[in-house]
């Protein structure tokens, strides 16, 4: 874990309100594992005050990529940054996904911006049969299909309006996609809490192991403030330190 001033190389809108930024951050990029995140400072005038956590979307040699959705003060500021500007980045943080699986078949489930850590994950799950289920509001907000395919994954899409792919939620698509004869090794999922709760329920019902990437408001991102806890069967655990990835069986929703 290190703190660096990283040069912004690229910052482009990839879908309405969704941006991808590329940072020159060799030391973080080479240490990064799928499912880990970085904590980035948006301003230098203490407004907004705290860093903001973002999943590592991908790494490319010395470059670190972030996929983000503009929702408030910090992400708005990020979207206005120009190549050449420097950003204060802390990372890589958190545990990341455990890549070990006994069986070859893997399911990835991403809801909305929760897709962010799944491309890097798919790339590292070599020699596995991957089915990626991605869900979004509408066609415009479906991201990363090509990237997931390039990583060797088969991709299925769910949209709320049915404009493309399955009409309904990504968890309804998941219910359809887990057939008992498939012998799925692990479900990896990232997305909003209600979605993760549903994934945990489906996984439990089918006795499949699920690894969920959770979110909580963070102040420090490095395990110092105990502000980002989630309730688990082992008591409160810090999302930034013991997480963000947790075994679905231990999370108490």
């Amino acid at each position: 874990m290190i703190q660096i001033k990283a040069k912004l190389i690229k910052n482009i809108e990839v879908a309405p309100n969704y941006y991808k930024m590329v940072l020159d951050a060799p030391a973080i990029a080479c240490a990064a594992k799928p499912g880990q995140f970085v904590n980035i400072l948006a301003g230098d005038k203490f407004e907004p005050l705290l860093r903001r956590p973002f999943s590592i979307y991908n790494v490319n040699d010395s470059k670190l990529e972030i996929l983000y959705r503009v929702v408030g003060k910090a992400t708005e500021l990020f979207s206005k940054k120009k190549p050449g500007e420097k950003l204060n980045v802390l990372g890589p943080l958190g545990n990341g996904f455990d890549l070990k699986t006994k069986k070859a078949k893997i399911l990835l489930v991403g809801g909305g911006i929760g897709i962010a850590p799944l491309v890097f994950l798919a790339e590292k799950l070599t020699g596995k049969e991957i089915l990626a289920l991605i869900g979004a509001k509408n066609k415009k907000h479906i991201l990363c299909v090509d990237e997931l395919k390039d990583a060797g994954a088969q991709v299925k899409i769910a949209t709320d309006d049915g404009g493309i792919g399955f009409k309904g939620s990504v968890t309804d698509l998941l219910k359809q996609s887990v057939r008992p004869k498939d012998k799925i090794g692990v479900i990896f999922a990232c997305g909003p809490k209600p979605m993760l709760k549903e994934v945990a329920y489906i996984a439990k019902k089918h006795k499949i192991e699920a690894r969920l990437s959770l979110e909580e408001h963070m102040a420090c991102g490095i395990g110092a403030c105990f502000g980002c806890v989630v309730n688990t069967t082992r008591g409160y655990k810090r999302v930034c330190k013991e997480g963000p990835v947790f075994d679905a069986r231990e999370v108490i929703f």
Binding site: F46, C220, G223, A224, C225
Partner: protein, 303 residues
């Protein structure tokens, strides 16, 4: 010229006046790969209680204008596990370790102090008196008599340097500070966080699960400065000032206002190495101003 940055807090000599505030630096381990911990004047641990505490349900933090609210609820593993699992690392750093303690009643405070008194590697105790006073809805450090009672009891139980940390949520901070010095505290530290609240107008819910929390960060600095100034001219013991210190300028303001030492809290979340950058910053300032001894600056405010 090499300026003298050392200060004394009770029996404790600090090589510089910059410490990290309780609850904002974990048990220091978390920061070890990001900075040189040896450069710190002292480390104050997260508040420890006798028994483990689970803490409050999430969400526990929320950002507000130039600040943040927290309601962690003193989650900690208890004194036994602290001594076994956390203290060994802290001891090895080689800077004074100040253990912050809190309790639900006087006898627990005394028991904690007795345990720490015979524990190798503990340099001082900081009493976090922002805990409820026995069966009332007030915090101990909101009441002068309760403050006196707890400090007195702990003072009798330990030879270690004793620092009393006060809540700013009072009408007369000087009154509480005098109660602590009357009970022979070696130093006063302030401010703890300001009771505050954040509301989501759409869901019509408080943003913290605990409903209220403590405000910290740059937003509180002017009030913290006023309180540090007021207390330092009221009592004879050293004052450790904190509240919104983010950089060297902020730290210098507290020292000029009367703080013998300062602590960085929320600032460490924004910049993990803020505290040691402040040590270097103060050194540079003294050199530039040709001031030989930090003591010449403490409380030098002209008013």
């Amino acid at each position: 010229m090499k300026p003298d940055l050392s200060v004394k807090i009770g029996k404790l000599k600090l090589k510089n006046p910059v410490m990290v505030a309780s609850g904002t630096f974990g048990y220091a381990e978390e920061f070890s790969s990001l900075m040189d911990l040896k450069k710190l004047g002292a480390i104050v641990t997260k508040t420890i209680t006798l028994k483990p505490r689970k803490g409050n349900p999430p969400p526990r933090t929320v950002e507000t204008a130039a600040g943040m609210l927290n309601a962690i609820g003193l989650e900690n593993p208890g004194i036994k596990v602290f001594i076994k699992d956390k203290l060994p690392f802290l001891k090895k750093i080689g800077v004074p370790i100040i253990v912050s303690i809190s309790a639900d009643n006087d006898s627990e405070f005394v028991e904690l102090a007795k345990i720490l008194n015979k524990t190798n590697g503990v340099s001082a105790i900081e009493l976090n008196l922002s805990c409820p006073n026995l069966g009332t809805s007030r915090m101990v450090s909101q009441l002068d008599k309760a403050t006196y009672r707890v400090v007195r009891a702990v003072r009798a139980a330990t030879k270690l340097t004793l620092i009393t940390k006060l809540t700013p949520n009072v009408t007369d901070i000087g009154l509480i500070a005098r109660a602590a010095t009357a009970a022979d505290t070696d130093a006063i530290s302030l401010v703890n966080t300001f009771l505050a609240m954040a509301v989501d107008k759409d869901s019509r819910r408080p943003k913290l699960a605990n409903v209220t929390g403590g405000l910290s960060g740059p937003a509180i600095k002017p009030i913290a400065l006023r309180m540090v100034w007021e207390v330092s001219r009221t009592v004879y013991v050293p004052v450790i000032g904190m509240g919104g210190i983010m950089n060297t300028e902020d730290a210098m303001e507290f020292i000029v206002a009367g703080a013998t030492a300062v602590a960085v809290g929320t600032g460490s979340f924004v910049n993990p190495s803020a505290s040691i950058e402040i040590v270097d910053g103060i050194k540079r300032y003294l050199q530039a101003q040709k001031i030989k001894d930090i003591e010449d600056l403490i409380g030098s405010i002209k008013c």
